[in-house]
């Protein structure tokens, strides 16, 4: 069976006055209807990988790939109009912080309805019904009230639920979650993960879960890719994380404290220049 997403030697470069910055340097992976975690520190290129798949890299970025295929569609050759139609409809993305990723002057309901009506010719009343149902699906209780609220009037957890509702309402087959819980309180993080878990499981969509939190990713995903300086340094099933071989991954794992242990000071990451080669 053909994979949902096939990425071969994907690169993202930013030409600047002082030289080219290579954010992503020839990474390859495939994704079926599974959960793939991409882990790495800031600047490792994990977010730019997600945005390149969405077609949302900044205007000055150069994207190259030997192959970038979504469900048999060559994304590198796809015209902008087709890529726009894919966005939201078949590939969706959840951003980090609902405080900034929701339009502050538009009610939550309108933003969800807008996402739906961009892809389906549904009437206003029906769109509202679908949006309310979606809000219920992300476990918002008082949906009629929340529908009419502005983003600043809801909590971070509520905002992120609205974000998920907005991105899933058109029924995408691939969801890219770019640090979806990093801006939230720890207690709320679990709620959001549970909701994501259920919705992804029910619809059977593919998920790319981008995070800097190795443990979170390994508990949530089937497979984990570890990125460092724009490259994949290790790829392994989440269950076998303990058997990671690359020193960077080992370092990430070792610097995590465990409850009940006495290690002072905790080891810090010792980055080696040869990893970036």
């Amino acid at each position: 069976m053909k994979p949902l997403l096939d990425v071969k030697r994907l690169g993202v470069r930013f030409p600047t006055r002082t030289g080219t910055i290579e954010a992503v340097r020839g990474i390859s992976f495939t994704l079926g209807r599974e959960r793939l975690g991409i882990v790495g520190e800031s600047g490792s290129g994990k977010s730019q990988t997600g945005r390149a798949i969405m077609g949302l890299t900044p205007a000055n970025a150069e994207v190259s790939a030997d192959r970038l295929e979504f469900d048999g569609i060559d994304l590198m050759k796809a015209p902008p109009r087709l890529r726009r139609d894919l966005r939201g409809k078949r590939i969706a993305m959840i951003l980090q912080d609902p405080k900034y990723s929701l339009n502050p002057v538009m009610t939550i309901g309108r933003q969800i309805v807008e996402a739906l009506r961009a892809h389906e010719a549904v009437g206003k009343a029906q769109a509202r019904e679908r949006a309310l149902a979606m809000l219920e699906a992300v476990q918002i209780r008082d949906v009629n009230r929340v529908y009419d609220l502005y983003p600043h009037e809801v909590s971070g957890g509520m905002g992120q639920r609205a974000m998920i509702a907005m991105m899933l309402i058109a029924g995408p087959q691939l969801l890219i979650a770019d640090e979806p819980t990093s801006a939230l309180d720890v207690t709320v993080q679990l709620d959001i993960l549970r909701i994501l878990d259920r919705l992804v499981g029910e619809s059977g969509m593919g998920l790319i879960f981008i995070s800097h939190d190795l443990r979170l990713v390994s508990s949530f995903c089937d497979r984990v890719i570890v990125m460092y300086a724009g490259k994949i340094v290790e790829e392994l099933p989440a269950a076998e994380l303990a058997r990671a071989r690359h020193p960077y991954t080992r370092g990430l794992l070792d610097c995590m404290p465990r409850i009940g242990e006495q290690r002072h000071p905790l080891p810090v990451l010792d980055r080696k220049p040869e990893w970036a080669l």
Binding site: M54, R87, Y100, V105, R145, Y150, H152, E153
Partner: protein
Amino acid sequence: MSVSETRTGAGRRRAPASVYASAALRFLGVVVVTYLGLLAVTFFIGRVIPIDPVLAIVGDRAPASVIAQARKEYGLDLPLYEQFVLYVKNALTGNFGRSVLSTNPVMADIARVFPATIELATLGTIIGAAVGVPLGVLAAVKRGSLVDQIVRVIGLVGYSVPIFWLGLIALLVFYARLGWTEGPGRIGIAYEFTFTPITGFYLLDAVLQRDWGAFRDIFGHIILPAALLGYFSLAYISRMTRSFMLAELSQEYIVAARAKGLSESRIIWLHALRNAAVPLVTVIALSYAGLLEGSVLTETVFAWPGLGLYITNSLQNADMNAVLGGTIVIGSVFIGINLLSDALYRMLDPRTRTR
């Protein structure tokens, strides 16, 4: 305050009446304090400048007895604080005394010239915003491109070329050479004596009387100075629009809007501009307020009988009643416009509504 209670109701919640009442009270307090400040400043200026108001009225050859009597009549022999109270009372009733120059009550003079300025400033601002905002949006979206450069140059020229020079050139080209527009003044000689102003806004008056000939003539007169003022405010409005739009377009919610698959035009005009409109309203309102002061140079070049020309003439003739009256009217307009833009700000940005 039971704001949270009212929120639990279905649908859009409403704030209780007490919230509105306290907001209105605060609003009123701001108006009163600002207005008193304005009066205090104008009063102070009127007293410290080396112009004797009495002398200006009775002339420098009047005998001492007449001067003393006039001094008494105008309350100038009273202690300063009583004078101020009198001044405030007069200002509130719109009684600024008579103009030395025209011998009319200052208020009547202002009622005559101010509509001319308002009409010009309004049309100018409409032109400035209607052209400036789209240009600014375009420049922001096509940042760094030729379009951006062209908009930059258009703005720079509007901002730096003296407006009286542009006015003269415009008159020369569009009136004298091409004959596309009418010349200086508000209305042509053919209509001057048959046209009866009702509101003082000539365009509106012509519409009210269905006098389309006069309308065309008046429009021909106003379009050149209005376009000029519009160009001047366009320069500023387009620059500000560009920078507000750039700030909005780099926000995360724009990425989210793209991720939803929205069209670029919807993202720019509905999402980004709607957010940029919040600060933009203040910019446009202040530029409008600036034009309402009366643009002396434009009014001079186009022989436009407006407030700027009136105050300048009064100033040159030491007609202090007229100057102070005009200053207070302009100040009041400024306060009013500021409050209006505040209210609009609140309307446009939901974050400023709930407290």
